[in-house]
């Protein structure tokens, strides 16, 4: 009767396999960083160049500035694999003079001359110089410094520049006019804005760990976006190793990744997301691929794809390969397998470094004896618990390292025969997310794991204990599956499992409340053997008398027989070729139960309820389950249809209304028919059929009345149209349940037998709705039954047909 001992603070090393993968990925990409020492050396080198140029240009007429751009400024510097892991540093050398005073050729030559003088001055690192298309390159040992000559852009005075292009030098006239505008500072500002929130959070996390963030240089804090760009650049370098000219420019990758970045998530998730989204962000304008500079829309970073169209094709091939490689990474389990795939995607050396780092961390924790295995997540944690067996090879997951809860969830689902999609749909969660939970890539939130356990007919504690055996006393799903035709689809099977779960909850709650359960239902009526329409109509009149329903509209059909039948409304799928419209089940403990497929129009749901009542009261002697699939032509089904028609629209009442309101001549008018439909609270199709059956209209009129759209006509007449009739089958969660179930839950909470949270879990809803339930009587269906207003029946609309059948 005591709690487990309080334990030390538990710091997860890996809480999920997803985190484990992410950690390895993160370590791999971090190994692409330059070291602090290299960074400081690079800065000192470019500052020396900058100082020299500033002195060179220092005159009363014009000065200049040298500043970093590109990956150095963006924090995405990546070692270049085809240059033996060297790095590139890009500098802008902006000479502050009017463009009218200098040509592109002269500016380039002037900067080249200045750099020659710099080299003669004997700078540290002993660089050499070579010319590029738009820049000069100083080649140092271990890195290159690209110096880009530029002038201020008078059209973009704050941070804009104009730069030279060697290809234009051959055409001096054009070169004078066609300077290339650029804005690396504005671009870097945009990039930093995109990731600002995460960057601030990372700084805040450092601060929370007691680190003085003022002492942490900006470049030392990397966001997932920066890491993602580094990863993609490295993947690109490997992919295009044999065709360097075809490589997409880093600025294209950075721009698309920045635009695709959603602002959070692990590096792995961001990479998956970004690689999926990037291709969709490339625009096509007049046949030209466009990757616009986000701060200078006229600049197209992909302009060279126009003259080299195969580069565009290769870009799309590459990004698809990157996405596939990342997806494959996620399907692997075990450190060594992940490392192997990391090596293929990002290079062997990168994976080796990640493996060494991961191995070192594991050894460190083992040495401290603090490593245990979270069997609920299958991940390694530090803290109390059973120790992971020692092993010598880093990255060996060991036979004991399994993802218990994830595996149990998967096994339990497979045992029920449900697909991931059906299970996810039944609970209203994303299928991909469910697959993450089942593979251990993400920890399943325990409330979701508990809901899944219930769907699979078991409980969370059994899953945690590794015993996911069925816990329900009555195998409802098994009974229903066997009774249902073999065409029953996945969505229907998911709905039937939820039905089973609710029935089981009802039984348990009744026991808790000491409320007697009726046991198997007994109909007060003799079983019928006839199957004619007349037999069905007679049976409906008998039931009306038995339930004291009078001769008028039924009111709320979902509550009309509440004392005798539990009526549930659950989604069983919209494809009625593989899903029942409804079913009757005589449960051994709760008795008559009807399940209605809520993926149908409201009128059809109403008709289904009435139809299933026929089975409950007139076919239940000897038959515990009757599944109604559309198209069934059994005599029993014909009987039930006739019963439903008479129960919902009594012939006597229909004829009385038509006679009293002198509607004999206006029944050709759809407006009058819509008023009758609304009076009885049934579908337009049902009222048409009833008018034909009662011989109040002929076949020609029956067909003519089918020409209108009843929903549109009803709207035009001012009637509310139920969302299900517009194809929106979302229901208020409490509409799923029979009134008796809601009343039981209400009473159980009020008597403190269950907590509001438990009630919410039982009814698959939130505590907000439980509060509402406690504050008022059980919720009523939203469909309103408008009083008949035949005098106002003016034909107003003739539209097309709709799906109200």
């Amino acid at each position: 009767m005591v709690w487990p001992e309080r334990q030390e603070w538990v710091v997860p090393m890996y809480t999920t396999l997803d985190q484990q993968l992410n950690d390895l990925l993160q370590t791999s990409i971090e190994s692409l960083d330059i070291s602090d020492e290299e960074y400081r050396l690079a800065v000192s080198r470019y500052e020396a160049v900058g100082q020299f140029l500033a002195d060179y240009w220092d005159s009363p007429r014009a000065g200049g500035e040298v500043y970093p751009q590109g990956s150095m400024r963006l924090g995405t510097v990546t070692r270049i694999i085809h240059r033996n892991d060297e790095i590139d540093i890009d500098l802008v050398a902006r000479h502050d003079i009017d463009k009218k005073l200098i040509s592109q050729v002269d500016l380039k030559a002037d900067v080249g001359h200045a750099l020659d003088l710099f080299l003669k001055s004997g700078p540290e690192g002993d660089p050499s110089k070579k010319e590029g298309k738009r820049c000069w390159t100083l080649v140092y040992s271990g890195f290159h410094v690209d110096v880009l000559p530029a002038l201020p852009n008078e059209d973009d005075p704050e941070t804009g520049i104009i730069i030279t292009d060697k290809e234009l030098h051959a055409e001096p006239d054009k070169a004078v006019r066609r300077w290339i505008p650029s804005n690396p500072i504005g671009y870097a500002d945009w990039f930093h804005r995109v990731m600002r929130r995460e960057w601030l959070e990372k700084r805040a996390e450092l601060s929370a760990r007691g680190i003085d963030v003022a002492e942490v240089p900006e470049w030392a804090v990397k966001t997932t976006l920066q890491r993602a760009v580094q990863a993609l650049k490295r993947h690109r370098d490997l992919y295009f190793e044999d065709a360097l000219d075809d490589r997409p420019a880093s600025v294209i990758i950075t721009t698309l990744a920045g635009r695709a970045y959603g602002g959070g998530g692990s590096l792995y998730e961001v990479l998956l997301d970004v690689t999926s989204t990037m291709p969709t962000l490339i625009e096509r304008q007049d046949g030209v691929y466009v990757v616009a500079n986000p701060v200078q829309k006229k600049e197209n970073f992909a302009d060279r794809w126009q003259s080299h169209p195969h580069r565009a094709k290769r870009f799309f091939e590459w990004i698809e390969q990157a996405r596939a490689d990342l997806s494959n990474l996620g399907s692997e389990r075990g450190v060594d397998r992940v490392l192997e795939k990391l090596g293929r995607a990002f290079g062997g050396r990168v994976a080796e470094r990640a493996g060494r780092a991961a191995g070192a961390r594991l050894r460190e924790r083992r040495a401290g004896g603090r490593l245990s295995m979270a069997s609920g997540t299958g991940a390694l944690v530090t803290g109390n618990g059973s120790l992971v067996r020692p092993h010598t090879f880093h990255g060996d997951p060991g036979p004991g390292q399994t993802n218990d809860l994830a595996d149990a969830l998967r096994r339990a689902r497979e045992r029920t025969g449900l697909s991931q999609e059906a299970a996810a749909d039944a609970l209203g969660i994303n299928r991909v997310v469910l697959s993450y939970y089942e593979t251990g890539r993400r920890s399943a939130p325990l409330p979701t794991a508990a809901a899944l356990a219930r769907l699979y007919g078991t409980t969370l504690d059994r899953l945690v204990a590794g015993n996911e055996a069925v816990s329900a006393e009555v195998d409802v799903s098994g009974v229903l599956y066997r009774a249902a035709p073999p065409v029953l689809n996945d969505a229907a099977r998911g709905g039937l499992r939820i039905f089973e779960q609710y029935l089981s909850d009802y039984v348990e709650l009744a026991h808790e409340m000491s409320r007697p359960l009726p046991g198997k239902g007994q109909s007060p009526f003799a079983a019928v053997t006839g199957s004619s329409a007349r037999d069905g109509a007679d049976a409906a009149r008998q039931l009306r008398r038995y339930l004291n329903l009078g001769g008028g509209p039924l009111g709320d059909p979902f509550r009309a027989a509440d004392e005798h039948v539990l009526i549930w409304r659950l989604p069983l799928g919209e494809d009625l070729s593989g899903a029942p419209s409804g079913l009757f089940y005589n449960h051994p403990q709760v008795g008559f139960s009807i399940l209605v497929n809520s993926n149908m129009t409201l009128g059809r749901q109403v008709f289904t309820v009435a139809h299933e009542l026929a089975h409950a009261f007139f076919h239940s002697r000897g038959l515990d389950v009757i599944v109604s699939m559309p198209g069934a032509e059994l005599g029993r089904e014909r009987f039930a249809d006739a019963f439903a028609g008479e129960l919902l629209v009594p012939g006597d009442e229909l004829r009385r209304l038509v006679a009293e309101h002198a509607l004999w001549t206006t029944l050709t008018d759809p407006t009058a028919v819509v008023h009758l439909q609304r009076h009885f609270g049934v579908s337009y199709a049902t009222i048409r059929v009833r008018l034909l059956q009662e011989r109040l209209i002929d076949r020609v009129t029956f067909d003519k009345l089918a020409q209108v759209s009843p929903s549109r006509l009803a709207q035009a007449l001012g009637f509310p149209v139920h969302r299900a009739d517009m194809g929106d089958f979302h229901m208020h969660p409490l509409e799923r349940f029979p009134g008796r179930m809601l009343a039981l839950v209400q009473a159980a909470v009020e008597e403190e037998i269950i907590t509001p949270g438990d009630a919410a879990e039982t009814l698959s809803t939130s505590t907000h709705e439980i509060r509402q339930l406690l504050a008022r009587p059980p919720i009523q269906p939203q469909e309103q039954h408008i009083q008949l207003d035949l005098e106002a029946a003016v034909f107003a609309h003739k539209g097309g047909q709709d799906g109200d059948s």
């Binding site: 009767m1 709690w3 487990p4 309080r6 334990q7 538990v10 997860p12 809480t15 929130r197 959070e201 805040a204 996390e205 929370a208 959070g264 998530g265 998730e269 295995m373 979270a374 069997s375 609920g376 997540t377 109390n384 618990g385 809860l405 609970l427 209203g428 969660i429 994303n430 991909v432 997310v433 993400r442 920890s443 939130p445 325990l446 409330p447 794991a449 508990a450 409980t459 969370l460 504690d461 945690v464 204990a465 816990s471 348990e508 808790e512 969660p733 403190e752 037998i753 269950i754 907590t755 509001p756 949270g757 438990d758 919410a760 879990e761 809803t765 939130s766 505590t767 907000h768 709705e769």
Partner: protein, 155 residues
């Protein structure tokens, strides 16, 4: 301080979640499942937000009920968008998962154990249970408006 879904909801609806965080030292914690780690993850607070949105959709525009529901949705949206350090999502470890399972179990033994802790109700819901399991094991202050949850926490 670790707060349960009900306290988080109430504070969010009032627009006081940041003030509460400041009052307890700048950071609040919630159990995984009460709040998701990823945006696409189901959570109790997300379900409450959806329920409030249904109130908005079902209320006449301009009515008092509508305004109240809109404000509540806004408060929940702000809560759902909060990040560390204002709010942290704590994942349960294996021992905490096992305690959660016992607090929610239907087994007779576990029910007896809960009765021994002083609980009157049949069991706790999973979100409440995992919150208590984490708060208890890690010695974190726990805030809830559920009397049974507080009994379990202090037991």
């Amino acid at each position: 301080m670790l707060i349960d879904a009900s306290v988080a909801r109430s504070m969010a609806v009032l627009g006081w979640i940041n003030q509460l965080a400041q009052a307890v030292g700048g950071s609040l914690s919630v159990a995984h499942g009460v709040l998701g780690i990823n945006a696409d993850e189901p959570s109790e607070l997300r379900r409450i937000r959806d329920a409030l949105q249904r109130d908005v959709d079902g209320s006449p525009h301009g009515s008092g009920r509508y305004s109240k529901a809109v404000a509540a949705v806004h408060g929940l949206d702000r809560l759902l968008s909060l990040r560390p350090p204002t709010i942290r999502v704590l994942l349960p470890n294996i021992e905490e998962i096992q305690v959660t399972a016992r607090l929610t179990s239907r087994e007779v033994d576990d029910r007896d154990w809960r009765r021994g802790l002083g609980l009157r109700t049949r069991r706790l819901d999973t979100g409440e249970a995992v919150s208590i399991a984490i708060a208890h094991a890690r010695g974190i202050d726990f805030a809830s408006d559920d009397g049974q949850a507080l009994i379990a926490y202090t037991a």
